[in-house]
Structure formats: C-alpha cells, structure tokens
Symmetry: C2
Subunit: 197 residues, 2 copies
C-alpha cells in the first residue's frame, strides 16, 4: 500500500510557521550544517549535518509524489512547475491558478477534493510514498483517516506564536506508534506511524 | 551552578493534561514497560522500558529538590508530605494549605513568590539540580529567565485539546540547544538546554 506521510518542520511548542507565515526559524536546520544535499533545482541545495543529510537523501529516495495545500504551493510559487524532489506534486485547491492552467508541468492542481488528490498522488507514487506538506491539508487527512505516518523535524525552539500544526483536530485523541529517531544538528527527525482507530 | 530543570510529559501536539486536568494519557509511559523503578513511596513504583528505567534512575539521582506550582501539589495531595523522589519539595502558592500549616514535612509552601521559591529550592538542592513540574510555573520561569533546561518526555499521541505546556510565552522566541535523546517505549526523552538571551 502506498503510504501517505506528513513531512513538517515544527518548533517544540508546535508551530510550523510564525504569525506572518514565515518559516525561516523552523527551516533553519536545512542550512545549519556543512554537508550538501542537492535537489533537482540547482539553486536549491540543503546544507545540513551528516545525520540529516543521510536522512534527507533516504527520504528523497522514498518519496514518489508530493501532496500539498494551495498555500504551501503559492508560497513556493508552485516550485516553478517542478517540485525540488523531482517527483509529481499534487496541490489541493478550489481553482487552478491562471498561470498554470495550460501548463504541462509536473505540478497538478486538483479541484475535486482532498480524497481525489490523495488517490491521484498515490497512483503517481506507485510503490513509493506520498509526502505531504501543509498544516491544513495534514489536519484534514488526519481527520479523515487518510494519513499513515507523521514525520516531524522537531526544532529546538519555542516560537511562542504562529501557525500550529495540530490545531482543531476533529477526531482526537490520535494514537501514534513509537517513533524512529534521527538526531541532527538543530533538528531531531521523528517518524511516527499513525495507529488506525 | 544549581540548574533549574523543567520535567514534563507532553503529547506531540503540546498538551500536558486533558481538558479535565487529567494526565493519564500523557503519563501512560510510566506504566508501559516491565522494568520496575521504585521511588521512596512503596505504593508508587514506575513500570517502564529498560531505556526509560535507566533514564529515570539517573534523573532521580540528579534531582536535589523539586519545585512545583500549587495545582500540581494539590493534585498529588502534597505527596503526603514527602515527594516520591525523596527530596525536599517547594510549592509556590498564595496561601499555605491549612492541613500543612503546622507540618514538619519536607514539602515547603512558599508564599513570597517564584523567585524566592527558586532560591530556596536551589539552596536545598546543593550541587544537584532543581526539578520543576507544572505548566504555569515552568512558563513563568521561562519568562523570567530562571529556567536552565527543559526535559520533555514526548508522548506519541495527539491529544487534540487540554492544557498546553508552552502557551502565552511572554519572551518568545526562546532558543534551545540540541537535545540529548533517549528512546523509550511510549515516550521519547528529550533534554534541551535553554540558551540565555
């Protein structure tokens, strides 16, 4: 079964972005080391600790498709039509942005709902996983039982305010399994299986 | 220097108790293993994984005094006058509870403020650490720069609602150092140094 896996950097107090939707603080770890991890974008290379580099390379090998909400896509300008992981990306939205309506890019805007987007992303991922970004999209997937794993890049920071990853869950409590742990620098990578109800 | 160290079990979504102040869910890990960790109370023994047992035993050897808020103390009925770790406990309160006003127990109610309670607990701890329980007390110590470390027993659970450990911080963001990590069963022990401003 193709797994749907949430991928988010989060502060210890649960924030994935500050009040202005800024992610610099929680993404600091991507540039806190001296091991280069290139992506398909020449100008988009991570610089991380050796442990995080190994973790990221393994992740990029695992992901067969990405799924995000519209806000995440907009903030990244739809990755210029090609997600840095080099895989098809599916964006849940109400309307296809005009600039991408005629595009033959590998970023696909899905207007018939999350369930359809998940199904399309799974089909594209094949025997790899679907990676998911975006707090609202992840929450909706949790609420509807569509999420198989939560991978948190836990950042040693108390942001104090901002956008919480796990807010207003409809079907809490959600039981998770024991995480696998990778200790980076400026980040602890925690991968939790979601235990189905 | 005697360190002041917050000690709390917290769900991945940041809660230390449910809406009714219940802690069963976040304390589950204390009884999730088959290694006994006795305390000074014969009827108060933890049953944890081998890794958590080693972690708890080391912690109990490190703590020289405990500091808590009144709610934490009330919930535990002031530990019957003797904290299970076998060390003096200092409770920040506005008024000494009547039943303890004449007590010669090792639980001390401090009515002249948090700073005084911290000073008294540090004096009692000597070259050991002061352990601190209670979300409000920890937050106040963070806000006033009195906290040196945050040790979170991170529980694989999304509680969805309840009492948050890090809410309404006054002096955020707070930068933490890289944590030491101990992987238990039903818990990940994370110890973060607080980086002074």
């Amino acid at each position: 079964m193709t797994k749907v896996v949430a991928l988010m950097s989060m502060s210890l107090d649960g924030y994935v972005a500050d009040l202005e939707d800024g992610v610099d603080e929680v993404f600091d770890w991507y540039f806190a080391g001296d091991v280069d991890v290139p992506t398909t974008k020449p100008d988009f290379t991570f610089h991380v600790s050796a442990a995080s580099a190994e973790h990221l390379r393994a992740l990029m090998g695992e992901v067969g498709a990405m799924l995000t909400g519209r806000r995440t896509s907009d903030r990244a300008s739809a990755w210029g039509g090609q997600h840095p992981f080099g895989v098809p990306a599916f964006v849940v939205t109400h309307e296809v942005p005009e600039e991408w309506s005629d595009s033959d890019s590998t970023v696909h805007f899905v207007t018939d709902g999350l369930e359809s987007a998940v199904a399309q992303a799974k089909a594209a991922a094949g025997d790899k996983i679907v990676g998911m970004h975006g707090a609202d999209t992840i929450r909706e997937c949790l609420d509807t039982g569509l999420l198989d794993e939560i991978r948190i890049d836990l950042v040693p920071l108390l942001l104090g305010s901002g956008i919480r990853l796990f807010d207003r869950l409809e079907n809490a409590p959600v039981t998770l399994g024991n995480p696998t742990v990778v200790e980076g620098v400026g980040v602890t990578h925690l991968s939790y299986p979601v235990i189905p109800r």
